[in-house]
């Protein structure tokens, strides 16, 4: 058994030595995107924030407080983890992260409510977990407003003798319908994954560009063909990555296929060209790799994919036009969620095309300088 293990390990090692380049390409273009895509898709299986653990400290023990607890128990967003007997217990649970929200119903709450004293409920949220706290706050506000509407209905009917059919209109004198377009369930996975996968894949495109530039010193036309060829291979890999989400994890794709294909190709070529240039100007291969990745990775934040560019300081807003991910991340998410045609992406494609053109121009300059340098050395 052990000798079999040794033999297999040895064969694998020999195989790896012979096909290092092919293995790296396979790893970057197929294996990593596939595994990551499956892992992210599976991880975020619930799609949106739900079952947020909440604690209730009920000092009132009235019919009202029990009704309120029932409302919370019925909510999909919230899950009652425990009933607390003291405020210290609430604080400890929030400190330790056991619960992320807490509702405190004060003593004699129901009695004060009936006698018109305007008692207040206290709601605590774990502000360290911003997204969860926001979801919990919105769910709890909705529940409390529903309960309050019932209370106000009694006031209108009892004190103002308003008939039942009219009372609801007076409770809410200005109604509001909130319609969340393109992502009505506030699906977090659809919001996050397309751009995050692009942020991951762009590292691969940069690395591939860099590796190809280190293979041989080639002229301008050969460099272009390498950049475009490997860029298109990268676009194929990106398609696989998004395809996995579409086929197995219900990521929608509602926009124009042509727009998606063009955007993906332009993005992959732009990133491959960037890696290629880095490979040409930084002599040390390891340092070039590290530098390329150090320059590419922060764009997942600087491109404004999650935290929007409009909220960043002005100098960073201006810088954001330089990152291909600024156009691709936002664009591919729109294509996934909106039924939108190619014409809407002309500005995105123009920007990506301009970046590629500038990169190629830079590449031409590098080739020219290199040629002059070698000519000078020869002379």
């Amino acid at each position: 058994m052990i000798s079999l293990f040794h033999t297999v390990a040895e064969r694998l090692y020999q195989f790896k030595l012979r096909h290092t380049k092919a293995i790296m390409n396979l790893l970057i273009f197929i294996i990593i995107p596939t595994i990551t895509g499956i892992a992210f898709g599976y991880e975020m299986g619930y799609n949106r924030i739900e079952s947020v653990p909440i604690m209730i400290a009920d000092y009132d023990h009235s019919e009202f407080s029990r009704t309120l607890s029932d409302y919370i128990a019925d909510s999909e967003i919230l899950t009652i983890k425990e009933y607390a007997s003291s405020n210290e217990q609430v604080k400890d649970a929030l400190d330790s992260g056991e619960v992320m929200a807490a509702l405190i119903i004060p003593e004699q709450f129901n009695k004060d409510l009936l006698s018109g004293k305007g008692p207040k409920l206290e709601v605590l949220y774990d502000g360290a977990q911003m997204t969860v706290a926001s979801a919990a706050k919105s769910a709890l506000s909705e529940i409390l407003l529903t309960v309050k509407a019932g209370y106000m209905k009694n006031i209108y009917q009892g004190k103002l003798s308003v008939v039942e059919s009219e009372s609801m209109k007076q409770i809410q004198p200005i109604g509001a319908t909130y319609r969340v377009l393109f992502n009505p369930t506030k699906n977090y996975r659809n919001f996050l994954l397309p751009g995050m996968l692009a942020a991951l894949m762009q590292v691969g495109f940069g690395i591939i560009g860099l590796s190809r530039s280190k293979e041989e010193r080639c002229g301008f036309s050969k460099s272009i063909s390498k950049i475009i060829g490997w860029g298109l291979a990268g676009a194929g890999s990106m398609t696989i990555c998004l395809g996995i989400q579409y086929l197995f994890f219900n990521l929608p794709y509602r926009g124009s296929l042509l727009a998606g294909a063009l955007m993906t190709c332009f993005f992959a070529i732009a990133m491959t060209a960037f890696g290629f240039i880095m490979g040409r100007i930084v002599p040390d291969r390891v340092f070039a790799t590290q530098l390329t990745c150090v320059l590419i990775l922060p764009t997942s934040i600087l491109s404004g994919y999650t935290f929007p560019v409009m909220a960043m300081p002005e100098p960073l807003q201006k810088l954001s036009i330089l990152w291909p991910l600024t156009y691709y991340g936002d664009g591919i998410r729109s294509l996934c969620m909106k039924n939108i045609g190619l014409s809407y992406f002309i500005p995105h494609l123009t920007a990506l095309g301009t970046i590629i053109a500038v990169e190629l121009l830079f590449m031409a300059c590098i080739v020219l300088v290199e040629r002059k340098y070698y000519d000078y050395q020869l002379s």
């Binding site: 090692y13 790296m24 970057i28 990593i32 991880e43 975020m44 299986g45 619930y46 400190d95 018109g116 305007g118 207040k120 206290e122 709601v123 605590l124 949220y125 502000g127 360290a128 911003m130 997204t131 706050k137 106000m152 103002l160 009219e166 609801m168 209109k169 007076q170 409770i171 809410q172 004198p173 200005i174 109604g175 509001a176 319908t177 909130y178 969340v180 377009l181 992502n183 977090y188 919001f191 996050l192 995050m196 942020a199 991951l200 690395i207 590796s211 291969r285 590290q290 990745c293 922060p298 934040i301 935290f307 929007p308 409009m310 909220a311 960043m312 300081p313 960073l316 998410r333 729109s334």
Partner: protein, 391 residues
């Protein structure tokens, strides 16, 4: 001369990467998130009523700093088209006869449209519009109650009854930097440490594999351990400097005790060392290894339970992640320590998990690394034997 220059360059580069790169990115990302709120979100209004009430509503929306009302549109299709093309992120439709319906107490309905593709923008917009509309509603309700012969004091009591006091603990402003920084710091420390460590480990592996007839494996050896220890110290210093800069420049809270932070970061770096040894067991080329390591940042961050909390993960996913990558044991308690002043007992389960991770993976990765050296030596000796036979 060239070798000396190369060695100096490598040493300086290592210090720059491990010590200064995390600090640079702390300052950069702090600057990115320096505006606490997402404000001036482009917004448009469709006013089908054009009455004093509708103009009052438009004024309220225009004056709110959360929104940038770029103007009014004439049809709902126009509004939707602007949202579709990302020129605006939301819109308000004020229906016809809005003013008349308010006066007739018919509860007219406003329609708020929001672009849900970017949830950060959508959620902020939702909060801003809800606040404005609820405030307007309370004003109208107050006048209805007072008009119905209820004294103003009682009317106010009725309207404020069943209201609730919301307290956002630890970060009342709910700023994005405070929310995300512990996670980003974890990734910065992990990536910089791993990239330099893997170079040292590969150098050592290739050196040890040079002599195929050496009897002992020689791993781990003293010079390598010293080198790892140096890196570990540098990374720890960098971690504390990042926290300090984040605190002084961007007001990131440092509520936890230093000893807990120290134990946490050292255990994490030992875990990453184990993973570094494991990864370098599979690679011979330094550049390939660096490329692979760089790929780890996004996946490990998104699966660490920091952005997508553990209770929301699909079944068994968290246990798999916890057993194959250590970031979970670092970023989550780090957030607890800094933001909440979590006690030692609160972070103890993470420390135990981290220590167990180190014990298991360090053993396995050292065994694998040693095996790999043996394999490389054997291949080399086989090749030498073939050469000798050919000669």
């Amino acid at each position: 001369m060239i070798t000396n220059f190369h060695n100096t360059f490598i040493k300086v580069k290592d210090i720059l990467v491990v010590l200064f790169l995390p600090i640079f990115f702390t300052l950069l990302f702090g600057y990115v998130y320096s505006n606490t709120y997402v404000e001036r979100i482009p917004f448009a209004i469709l006013d089908l009523d054009e009455s004093p009430s509708s103009r009052m509503i438009i004024d309220q929306f225009s004056e709110h700093k959360g929104m940038d009302v770029i103007g009014t549109v004439s049809t709902q299709d126009e509004l939707k088209d602007l949202i579709l093309s990302n020129q605006i992120y939301g819109g308000l439709v004020i229906p016809d006869h809005f003013d008349e319906d308010i006066k007739a107490k018919q509860s007219p309905d406003l329609l708020v449209l929001m672009d849900g593709t970017n949830l950060v923008i959508g959620n902020n917009l939702h909060a801003y519009t809800t606040t404005i509309i609820n405030t307007l509603g309370v004003g109208v309700q107050m006048s209805i109650l007072e008009g119905g012969s209820i004294v103003p004091y009682n009317a106010e009591q009725y309207l404020t009854a069943l209201s609730f006091t919301s307290r956002m603990l630890y970060d009342p402003q709910m700023g994005y930097f405070l929310y995300v920084f512990a996670g980003i710091l974890g990734i910065l420390i992990q990536q910089t440490y791993l990239s330099v460590l893997s170079s040292r480990l590969l150098e050592s592996k290739n050196e040890l594999a040079q002599n195929p007839y050496q009897s002992s494996i020689g791993f781990p050896n003293t010079p390598l351990l010293q080198s790892i220890l140096r890196l570990l110290c540098l990374s720890t210093v960098s971690f504390f400097l990042c926290l300090l800069f984040a605190n002084k420049v961007y007001g990131y809270p440092l509520r936890g005790d230093t000893l807990s932070l120290f134990v946490l970061v050292v255990l994490f770096l030992i875990d990453v060392t184990a993973m570094g040894i494991l990864i370098t067991s599979f690679f011979d080329d330094e550049a390939h290894c660096a490329q692979f390591c760089m790929f780890l940042s996004v996946p490990t961050f998104l699966t660490s339970g920091y952005i997508w909390p553990e209770f929301m993960m699909a079944p068994h996913f968290a246990s798999i992640i916890k057993s194959i990558w250590p970031l979970y044991y670092f970023v989550n308690p780090l957030r607890g320590l800094c933001m909440k002043n979590a006690s030692f007992s609160d972070i103890l389960p993470y420390l135990i998990g981290s220590a167990m991770f180190a014990a298991v993976w360090l053993t396995l990765s050292i065994l694998l690394f040693r095996y790999r050296i043996r394999l490389m030596r054997k291949t080399k000796s086989d090749n030498l034997d073939i050469c000798k036979n050919q000669l």
